[in-house]
């Protein structure tokens, strides 16, 4: 069994009379330690996949498992625990708490976990050792995203989920962030899932899942992984 598995996952949103199938028959798997990119156009259903995988949303039918745990069967509270201990999130807009310093933002996540990493160490690892005591407003976008990554990593999760991590960043900064994610995956053996509309990023992934119109169009293993520096978009 793979580390992450989706089997015939279906998600239906109901708004009044209308039923919208956000996802249907989604099936894929990701192995442990892989750098996976889920790519798809706007509205293809990649965010829904992220929501389900991240424990933020429930699925209508099908099976979704992480490390052998069936997410679809979890209660609300268990889902919260799942988010708390098993998943690390990196948002497009960083979602840092403005009123907390970089270090405190990391600590905010770390202090609720069972086996957290040292916040300061993680920040140093993401290259922000100097800026730990700065508030988000005092940091650039890239720096903020690094704080966000540090926050996710400090939880020592099983899975790192990144939603358009470069979406709000300029080209170079975006590259730097992607590099950090890739390094994390490589060096720490962390399973990283990046969701993006930018298919160019697929080149750096171990596994590429293409989503279209609410279903998985293709899933393939990348044979020739390109280094982040060499990706152009």
């Amino acid at each position: 069994m793979s580390f992450v598995e989706f089997r015939n996952v279906k998600k239906t949103y109901k708004t009044g009379e209308v039923e919208i199938n956000a996802l249907r028959d989604v099936t894929f798997e990701i192995e442990k330690g892989e750098f996976c990119v889920i790519v798809g156009a706007s509205g293809a259903g990649k965010t829904t996949i992220l929501n389900i995988l991240g424990g933020m949303d429930t699925l209508t039918s099908g099976i979704a498992t992480l490390d052998g745990v069936d997410i679809s069967q979890l209660s609300k509270k268990e889902l919260t625990a799942y988010r708390r201990y098993d998943v690390g999130f990196v948002f497009q807009f960083y979602n840092l708490v403005q009123n907390l310093t970089a270090l405190e933002n990391v600590e905010l996540a770390a202090q609720i976990c069972k086996d957290p990493l040292d916040a300061a160490t993680v920040l140093e690892q993401v290259g922000l050792g100097e800026r730990m005591k700065n508030f988000p407003a005092q940091l650039s976008g890239g720096e903020q995203q690094r704080v966000a990554i540090a926050r996710a990593l400090a939880k020592n999760p099983k899975l790192l989920l990144c939603d358009e991590p470069t979406g709000a960043l300029d080209y170079n900064t975006g590259k730097a962030v992607l590099k950090l994610l890739q390094d994390t995956c490589r060096k720490k053996g962390m399973t990283v899932v990046v969701i993006t509309h930018n298919s160019a990023l697929a080149a750096m992934a171990d596994r590429i899942i293409t989503v279209k119109s609410g279903t998985v169009e293709s899933m393939k293993k990348n044979r020739d992984i390109v280094d982040v520096e060499n990706i152009e978009w």
């Binding site: 991240g54 509270k77 625990a81 708390r84 201990y85 979602n95 708490v97 009123n99 905010l108 407003a137």
Partner: protein
């Protein structure tokens, strides 16, 4: 655009409602409190105008007559003008067990009309309607009409003014003259009037009015400037009118009196002359008679003297006669006595003689015997001597024989044996013969000696008999001598007696003669006496006649003098009176002099005072709420505004949309608030005023001006804050608006600079603290809201503690006595019977003098209850004198007084000040205040009996007593037993008083409830709104932490912990504010005669804190569900 606006409202109803609610609350409070005073005044105004309260009450020192009324009624602007009579009366109800002071008024038809509360108006002159306040105690259960009896103790002048002394109560009324509970003071009874009574004018027996009530043809609002101006305009004219009328009345009274007096004088002179002449004639007659009488008197007295002389002489002779008689009798008696004695002596003598004779005889016999005895003895002696001689011879012979014998015998002895036998026998025979002789001799000797002895004995006996005889003889001789002497004496006495008898006979004859003479004199005297008596009687008759005449004359003269003097005095009195008859004083009294009218103005202002503070506070909060809400809204709609702008909408249109949002909320809120506030507040507050004023229904008052102001203020509040919030955003370009606004930068707080504390804090607590201080405006608002809530609650509860508690304190802690009693004193103290009754039925009691004195200060004269206890010993069981802190106040010494707290507070009298007290007879007492004691009902001054006596000159007349019943005794029963005594005027049970007071004060619970509801409303709105803003603003953050895996409770705590912290802080601030606010409100609430105990009980603090937290938790509970509903997907959205 419009639909967008409506949708916007629907979409953010919570926010919309927050604005609406806070505006409603603010407006409700503002308008409610504001409208209360005008509504109260309007209410009273309606009552006053319905019952045509007077504008002027005209009083003059000489009263008024019908002509005055007529003339005044004809003045311009006068709607009604009526004369009225009033009098203070001491009355009792039917059974006569209770005494009241009642002010009786004549019913006026068009001014001061009465409001019938029960029953009907009087139709007969002996019917009355009574003060509705007295309704409770007067209705007798049977439903038949009650009676009011006027006591005969009233002074004569007062009784004269009434035609009846009993009035049937046919109804109960409210009078516009008595709008509040005070009935005024009087010089009667306890000094305060218990109630009023209205009777028909015919019930009064006077030819003048005591006052004239004037109502002008106006209906200006009471207390209004218009009214004041109107009255000011009439003042001079009417003062003049009153004076003129009074002067005219005075002149006519004066003139009439003058004429009357001079007529009287003339008549007096005439009468005086006539009378004098009559008297003189009588005098002459009397003098003649007197002369005659005195002549007769002299004659009589001469005769009397003669008679007296005769009498005297007779008396002398009578005395002499009786003396003589007495002497004679005495002599006779003496003689008789002497005779008796003689006779007795004779007898004795005879007896003696007889005895003597006998004795002589016996003696003679004895002599003979003796003689014979002597002869015998002599014979015996001679015989004896002879025998003795014989014997002696015999003896001698014998001796010689013996001798011879012996001699022979000797001679013989030698020859004896030689002798022949015969001889010898002869000798022996001789010898025996001798011997025999010898024996014979011896026997003879013995015989002789015995004879001798016998003889001697006989001789001695004879001698003794002889001696005896000698003695007897001597005695006899003596007796004979004595007898002879006695006999001699007897003879001489007998002679004397004979002589006395002769003399006596002579004296008796003399006496008889004198007696005859005396009888003759006596008869003569009697005749003279009788003649004298006749003369005397004649004289007495004459004398009596004269006396009668004289008496008659004197009486006549006295009568004459008296009558003349009386007439003169009357005339001079009348003259004095006339002279003293000062130009009459007139008083034109406005409504301000009516207690009810004046008090109501003050009392109704209390709410207005309070109204000044509260609304400002509420409107401030409302403005703050609007401001934060709107600025948050503008922030949220920043992009949308940018879009509208980009689409070409003008600033005005966009602003209009926002304004519509806040404005419509404000308008709806204002309307709701106004409607609820103006209905609720006046009603609730009016309810509390019912304690002191006549029961009137609160009518709804719509005040356009207030409505407009409320609307305007709320609009300014909402629109102004909207404008302030969005003017900056609108000035930005569309492009910049569409860019997300940089989030507010995080900041370190001061606390972080104190690592000692900061490092010890939990991570999430640090986050909360930083969040609290992140938005200063919100922090401030939160504190204002929460502290306002706590302060309001504390004020509300404190109000209750202060007001409701005062009765408990007054009657549970200060006046701890079970009851007090007033009675009619006898000899300056409690009547004996009552005293026994009280002693039997109570555990202990203390006599007091209770009376009413006016306290004279620079700016006021105020009635005080002065209490003078018999002594201050043991006062603690009846009244605990202590100050506000609970320290006992020592009893006043000489020249000192202690006053109640209310006196200190209201009349600015402090410890060490000198106070002046004056009673209705203008007696003054001055004393130095030596202490101020806690007291909440009435104004009290305590004096010692010594001070009272020293200052007023008289010892205090005890007319009351505090009583403590025995433990477990039924107060009502005991009181009833004591009240049976006739001298008891009233008994007040303090437990009842306390109940009644507490009950009436409980209407304040409504006010407290109102305050609590307002406070709750405030807390909810502020908390809800701010928390709501807080959540919407931080929705991404919250979504993020949810994504990070915060459990439900952790998420709530993360957000709401701030609320709790702020609530705690706000509550602390609120407690401080509350204490100040409470103090302020209490200062505004001044109820006459009652002084509240400004205090907040510990439990009220607890309630206020707990309630504030409860409100917070309720808001938090609502908010938690809202937090729960936040979708985590929000975290993925971009910042807009």
């Amino acid at each position: 655009m419009k639909t967008a606006s409506l949708r916007e409202i629907k979409g953010s109803f919570g926010r919309y409602f927050a604005i609406l609610a806070i505006i409603a609350l603010g407006v409700g409070f503002f308008s409610g409190v504001r409208i209360t005073t005008p509504a109260m005044i309007r209410n009273m105004d309606e009552f006053y105008s319905e019952h045509q309260l007077f504008d002027y009450r005209l009083v003059s020192t000489i009263g008024w007559d019908a002509k005055d009324v007529q003339m005044l009624a004809a003045q311009p602007d006068v709607r009604a003008c009526e004369g009225a009579v009033s009098a203070d009366l001491l009355c009792t109800e039917e059974t006569g067990s209770k005494e009241f002071v009642i002010k009786a008024h004549s019913i006026t038809e068009n001014v001061n009309t009465l409001q019938l509360a029960q029953g009907r108006m009087p139709r007969k002159a002996n019917e009355c309607v009574l003060d509705a306040k007295m309704g409770g105690m007067k209705t007798n259960g049977s439903g038949s009409a009650a009676m009011i009896k006027v006591k005969s103790e009233n002074d004569a002048d007062t009784l004269d003014t009434l035609k009846y002394t009993e009035f049937t109560v046919v109804g109960y009324v409210h009078s516009p003259l008595y709008a509040n509970f005070e009935r005024g003071t009087t010089s009667l009874g306890t000094g305060s009037i218990d109630g009023f009574m209205y009777v028909m004018p015919e019930a009064f027996d006077t030819d003048y009015f005591t006052e004239i009530y004037v109502r002008f043809d106006q209906d200006e609002k009471i207390y209004s400037d218009e009214y004041k101006d109107y009255m000011e305009a009439h003042k001079k004219t009417w003062e003049m009118l009153a004076r003129t009328r009074a002067d005219a009345r005075f002149d006519s009274i004066y003139g009439e009196a003058y004429i009357e007096i001079s007529d009287g004088k003339d008549e007096l002179e005439e009468k005086r002359e006539d009378g004098q002449k009559e008297l003189d004639d009588a005098r002459n007659e009397l003098d003649d008679a007197r002369k005659k009488l005195s002549d007769a008197d002299k004659e009589l007295s001469d005769a009397k003297k003669e008679i007296d002389d005769g009498d005297e002489k007779l008396k002398d002779s009578k005395k002499k006669l009786s003396d003589a008689k007495k002497e004679i009798d005495e002599n006779e008696k003496k003689l008789a006595d002497a005779k008796d004695e003689f006779d007795r002596a004779k007898e004795t003598l005879d007896n003696t003689k007889r005895t003597l004779d006998e004795t002589g005889e016996r003696l003679n016999e004895a002599q003979q015997q003796i003689e014979s005895a002597r002869a015998q003895i002599d014979a015996a002696e001679a015989e004896l001597l002879a025998r003795e001689n014989e014997f002696a011879v015999s003896e001698r012979e014998l001796a010689a024989a013996e001798q011879a014998f012996i001699e022979q015998y000797g001679q013989y002895l030698d020859i004896l044996d030689r002798l022949p036998e015969e001889q010898r026998a002869a000798i022996i025979a001789a010898r025996s013969q001798l011997e025999q002789s010898r024996a014979q001799l011896e026997a003879a000797r013995t015989q002789l000696s015995s004879a001798r002895t016998q003889f001697d004995a006989q001789k001695s006996e004879f001698n003794s008999q002889k001696a005896q005889y000698e003695i007897g003889r001597e005695q006899y001789e003596n007796g004979v001598a004595q007898y002879n002497k006695g006999l001699e004496e007897y003879q001489s006495r007998l002679e004397e007696y004979e002589k006395g008898v002769k003399e006596l006979e002579k004296g008796k004859a003399e006496y008889e003669k004198a007696l005859k003479e005396y009888s003759k004199g006596e008869k003569e005297l009697d005749k003279g006496k009788k003649e004298y008596e006749d003369g005397l009687k004649e004289y007495s008759d004459g004398r009596a006649d004269y006396e009668d005449g004289l008496k008659e004359y004197n009486d006549g003269e006295r009568e004459f003098d008296e009558k003349i003097a009386d007439a003169e005095r009357k005339i001079s009195e009348a003259e004095d009176e006339l002279e003293e008859l000062k130009a009459p004083e007139t008083f034109v009294l406005g409504r301000g002099t009516n207690i009810g009218y004046a008090c109501f103005e003050n009392d109704s202002q209390i709410v207005a005072q309070v109204a000044r503070v509260f609304p400002v506070f509420f409107i401030l909060v409302a403005a703050l709420v609007c401001m934060t809400t709107m600025s948050r809204m503008v922030e949220e709609q920043r992009t949308q505004i940018g879009v509208f702008k980009a689409l070409g909408y003008s600033n005005g249109t966009i602003m209009g949309k926002l304004m519509f949002y806040s404005g419509s909320a404000a308008v709806i809120g204002a309307v709701l608030g106004y409607a609820v506030g103006t209905v609720l507040f006046p009603r609730v507050i009016w309810m509390t005023y019912q304690l002191m004023y006549i029961p009137l229904e609160m009518k709804y008052l719509f005040d356009v001006q207030l409505a407009v102001i409320s609307g305007a203020v709320s609009l300014i509040c909402s629109l102004g804050t909207t404008w302030v919030s969005c003017r900056y955003e609108l000035s930005e370009t569309a492009a910049s608006l569409m860019r997300p606004k940089a989030p507010k930068a995080g900041k370190r707080v001061l606390l972080e600079r104190i690592p000692f504390i900061w490092k010890r804090m939990k991570f999430l607590h640090k986050v909360s603290i930083r969040n609290i201080f992140r938005y200063k405006k919100r922090l401030f608002m939160m504190i204002v809201g929460i502290s306002g809530c706590t302060a309001l609650l504390l004020t509300g509860f404190g109000l209750k503690d202060s007001v409701a508690g005062f009765a408990d304190v007054q009657y549970g802690e200060i006046f701890v006595t079970d009851a007090d009693m007033t009675f009619t004193p006898k000899n300056g103290t409690i009547p004996k019977k009552l005293k026994t009754r009280v002693e039997e039925n109570t555990g202990e009691y203390k006599l007091i003098r209770e009376c009413s004195f006016d306290l004279i200060t620079e700016d006021a004269t105020k009635a005080m209850t002065v209490i003078v206890p018999e002594s201050f010993d043991g006062m603690g069981s009846f009244v605990k004198l202590r100050d506000a802190e609970g320290t006992p106040v020592s009893p006043p010494g000489a020249g000192q007084a202690i006053v109640s707290q209310s006196v200190e507070e209201r009349y600015n009298v402090h410890k060490g000040d000198r106070i002046r007290l004056r009673d209705e007879n203008m007696h003054e007492i001055e004393a130095v205040v030596s202490g101020v004691f806690e007291n909440h009902v009435y104004n009290y001054v305590f004096l010692s009996a010594e001070t009272f006596e020293e200052q007023s000159g008289d010892p205090p007349e005890f007319n009351g007593a505090f009583m403590n019943f025995e433990d477990g005794a039924d107060g009502h029963k005991t009181a009833a037993v004591i009240a049976k005594s006739k001298s008891v005027k009233s008994i007040t049970l303090y437990s009842e008083l306390m109940d009644r007071m507490s009950k009436t004060m409980s209407s304040l619970n409504y006010v407290v409830l109102l305050v609590i509801v307002s406070a709750a409303g405030l807390a909810f709105i502020v908390l809800y709104n701010l928390t709501n803003i807080n959540i919407t603003e931080r929705i991404r953050e919250i979504a993020t932490i949810k994504v990070l895996g915060f459990f439900r409770g952790e998420t709530s705590a993360y957000v709401l912990r701030e609320n709790i912290a702020l609530t705690a802080f706000g509550t602390a601030v609120g407690l401080g504010l509350g204490i100040l606010l409470h103090r302020f409100v209490m200062q505004q609430i001044v109820v006459d005669l009652v002084s509240f105990r400004v205090r907040i009980l510990p439990l009220s603090y607890v309630y206020s804190i707990v309630l504030t937290f409860v409100f917070t938790f309720l808001v938090d509970l609502v908010m938690e569900t809202k937090l729960e509903r936040i979708n985590m997907a929000e975290s993925l959205k971009s910042v807009d």
